[in-house]
């Protein structure tokens, strides 16, 4: 009775796969998730850039700012610098001389939305180098920083011109320095690059999400059959091991299909979006990383689905299994809590240790691989421990599964469970 027929596993897996792929929830989650992800990526950019602000508030119109000062050359230096650096994005005009009436007039224009803000550069401001910017756009840090830069430029160049330098000389001296980061060999400094980090975080999120949802899917599928007599019919034709293997493989294939579709969508997105492409190249997110992803996802899924299959065979309903479910997913929660610490110090002793723990390694060892190449022996040891744990989990779950799926009603006590385990 120990024959294990791969063709039966295949038939069972195929049914499981086809049934799950055809469900509406699969189609929806496959196409909605990347969309939400995209929003999550793009929204912050939308909110912070001034272009977006214009888009949101005043369409594409340039931001209008007034530079009010008694010192007209200084004010003109500011508007000139703004125009040189940012082109038509800002419409800066000069107002002079300063008076209370002038200020009231500017305040009125502000309330009428005729301008976005004005800079008040009086004698005191020049002496203390502290300038007031009255604006309707308190949150537009980009505009504020650019105005500040332009102002610093203007103050410095005016002083130099007063000291007898020529305008061309001043422009050359104050030419901004451009900084280009170059990746050091064998290091992962680029991880700190926000965009690259995002790609890895997204991959980790997908991994976590998929392990969880497809593990639970195996459990639900086991429970559904446990309640019905279909199990008896199936077990007349196939062994419990074949059933469990088929179920896990079929459901796992659904998960891989979904991830494959997502990667394809990401690939398509990258081919169309400069933003995604730079993000991927920034982190060296190339084929090897995706290969690692698929390997660790598959191994992680095998581990968690084995456990979930066992849990499904023990309990009769999701409600009953709830608290034990939590115990099962606890390591995943712990692993997700370790994502940031591992990202910042991927070779620290703690990172090394947690990436060895089989229940966390699919996430954390993958993360270390993404961040910085860990020593080969660490990767090998982590994989070995993970695979050994998978074998053990499959063995234990297989025994529980074999007896559990035939049980109705009452859920077993620990003593009964241990008897199921021992029973040859």
């Amino acid at each position: 009775m120990t024959e294990f027929s791969l063709s039966k596993v295949w038939i069972i897996a195929k049914r499981e796969y086809l049934e799950r792929v055809r469900t509406r929830s699969f189609v929806i989650s496959t196409f909605i998730t990347p969309f939400l992800m995209g929003m999550f990526l793009i929204l912050p950019t939308l909110i912070t850039t001034s272009t977006a602000r214009n888009l949101v508030h005043d369409s594409q119109r340039p931001a209008r700012v007034v530079i009010a000062s008694d010192n007209v050359p200084l004010a003109e230096l500011v508007t000139g610098e703004l125009a040189r650096q940012h082109g038509t994005r800002y419409e800066a005009s000069v107002v002079s001389p300063l008076s209370q009436a002038q200020r009231d007039k500017l305040d009125k224009r502000l309330t009428d939305s005729a301008i976005e803000g004005y800079v008040w550069i009086d004698a005191n401001a020049i002496a203390t180098r502290r300038v007031e910017f009255v604006t309707r756009r308190m949150g537009d840090f980009v505009l504020q920083r650019r105005l500040g830069d332009a102002m610093s430029y203007a103050f410095a160049s005016l002083r130099m011109v007063q000291n007898g330098r020529s305008a061309a000389e001043v422009a050359a001296i104050l030419q901004p320095v451009e900084l280009t980061p170059i990746r050091a060999k064998n290091s992962a400094t680029q991880f700190n690059e926000l965009r690259g980090a995002m790609v890895v975080f997204i991959l980790l999120f997908v991994m976590l999400f998929s392990l969880l949802s497809y593990g639970v899917m195996v459990m639900r599928s086991v429970m559904e059959e446990k309640g019905s007599r279909i199990t008896e019919v199936l077990m007349c034709a196939a062994s419990a091991q074949e059933l469990m293997a088929g179920k896990i493989i079929g459901t796992g294939a659904v998960g891989l299909t979904q991830i494959g579709l997502w990667l394809a969508m990401a690939g398509f997105g990258a081919s169309r979006s400069l933003y995604l492409r730079t993000a991927m190249t920034a982190l060296d997110v190339g084929p090897p990383l995706f290969v690692y992803f698929v390997i660790f996802y598959t191994l992680g899924f095998l581990l968690y689905s084995a456990i979930f299959a066992g849990v499904g065979a023990i309990f009769n309903s999701i409600d009953e299994a709830q608290q034990w479910n939590f115990v099962v997913i606890l390591p995943l929660i712990a692993a997700s809590a370790m994502i940031l610490p591992v990202a910042t110090a991927s070779n620290s002793p703690i990172a090394v240790v947690v990436s060895m723990i089989p229940f966390c390694s699919p996430i954390l060892m993958f993360e270390r691989l993404a961040v910085q190449d860990p020593p080969a022996w660490q990767l090998a040891l982590s994989l070995f421990l993970l695979i050994a744990t998978i074998c053990a989990a499959m063995f234990v779950s297989g025994r529980i599964y074999r007896t559990g799926i035939l049980m109705y009603g009452k859920r077993p006590t620990f003593r009964e469970l241990s008897r199921w385990l021992m029973h040859a």
Binding site: K8, G227, I230, E232, V233, A237, E416
Partner: protein, 301 residues
């Protein structure tokens, strides 16, 4: 001829509770066997060991003359009581899947599904989801699923549950045909009328033990001829006073009575003739239902 299935002193206990406690029987080819018993008697546990779902703690289960192996299960068909199909899948997809698991190719499965659904008048339902079907309809589909791979031994758990009289007849015809074709059939039930009409032999179990078994006529004979009906004229008091009578229903000119174990019906006839004018005296076979109730009730006392 070798028996399709043979159980020899099979025992199975679950956590100290003996679900099956020394059951033995054999089902030869071309034979319909009834496994009877009240709920929780051990019918399902017995069946599970016959179809390889569980293995006995002791004793042996032989299929087609050999120790039970997975391979031999290809020749076994199993019909569970109900809910033996995937509700969300179509009838056709369910049947093809089960046919494939039983070792058929997709093409052969489809061919046979077509033939069977036509035969049972449900060809139009093949593309419907199982959950849309009535209980009786589902039962027919399960029946087809069990027969698809042309098994030599068909094990059925309450096959007539949920079927109307027309469908019951239809199913019965198929079963008789299968018997003629030399198949062995077992069904477990607690509905005695069907067993009486169909079965060649029975095994009545209660609390894991066989209470009664053998061919239907043997069973009846060994339990029987203890029920007597008398139509008479005169004073029936002599019947009530007879040491031969166990229990009596006297209606004045018609009496139904049960003889004490070992009592001779001819002796009673002579007694009756001495005191009464006997118009009709009939010794009745007990119905299986009477035997069932009597045996189970006596055990439970």
């Amino acid at each position: 001829m070798t028996a399709a299935v043979e159980l020899l002193d099979v025992r199975k206990s679950y956590g100290g509770y003996a679900a099956v406690d020394g059951i033995s029987f054999a089902i030869p080819p071309a034979h319909i066997f009834g496994l009877l018993g009240p709920n929780g008697a051990g019918k399902t546990s017995t069946i599970r060991m016959m179809i390889g779902i569980t293995s006995p703690d002791s004793g042996s289960v032989r299929l087609f003359g050999e120790r039970l192996r997975r391979g031999a299960l290809r020749r076994v068909g199993y019909l569970p009581e109900e809910r033996g199909l995937y509700r969300r899948m179509t009838v056709g997809a369910n049947l093809v899947f089960l046919g494939q698991l039983a070792g058929l190719s997709v093409a052969t499965s489809k061919e046979r599904i077509d033939a069977w659904t036509r035969r049972l008048g449900i060809a139009d339902w093949v593309d419907r989801r199982v959950e849309e079907l009535s209980k009786g309809m589902q039962q027919k589909i399960q029946f087809i699923a069990a027969l698809l791979h042309d098994p030599d031994l068909l094990v059925m758990d309450e096959p007539f549950a949920g079927l109307d009289p027309v469908n019951t007849m239809q199913l019965k015809d198929v079963l008789m045909e299968l018997r003629t074709a030399g198949k062995s059939l077992l069904f477990s039930t607690h509905r005695m009328d069907q067993v009486e009409k169909l079965c060649d032999s029975i095994c009545l179990i209660n609390r894991g033990k066989a209470v009664l078994q053998g061919s239907l006529s043997e069973v009846k004979a060994s339990n029987g001829r203890r029920f007597v009906q008398i139509d008479y004229e005169g004073d029936g008091a002599c019947l009530a006073g007879s040491p031969l009578v166990d229990s009596l229903n006297d209606y004045g000119n018609h009496a139904e009575l049960r003889l004490k174990p070992g009592a001779d019906s001819q002796e009673l006839l002579r007694t009756a003739m001495r005191a009464l004018r006997v118009i009709r005296f009939q010794v009745m076979d007990p119905s299986l239902e009477q035997i069932f109730i009597e045996r189970i009730a006596r055990r439970d006392d």
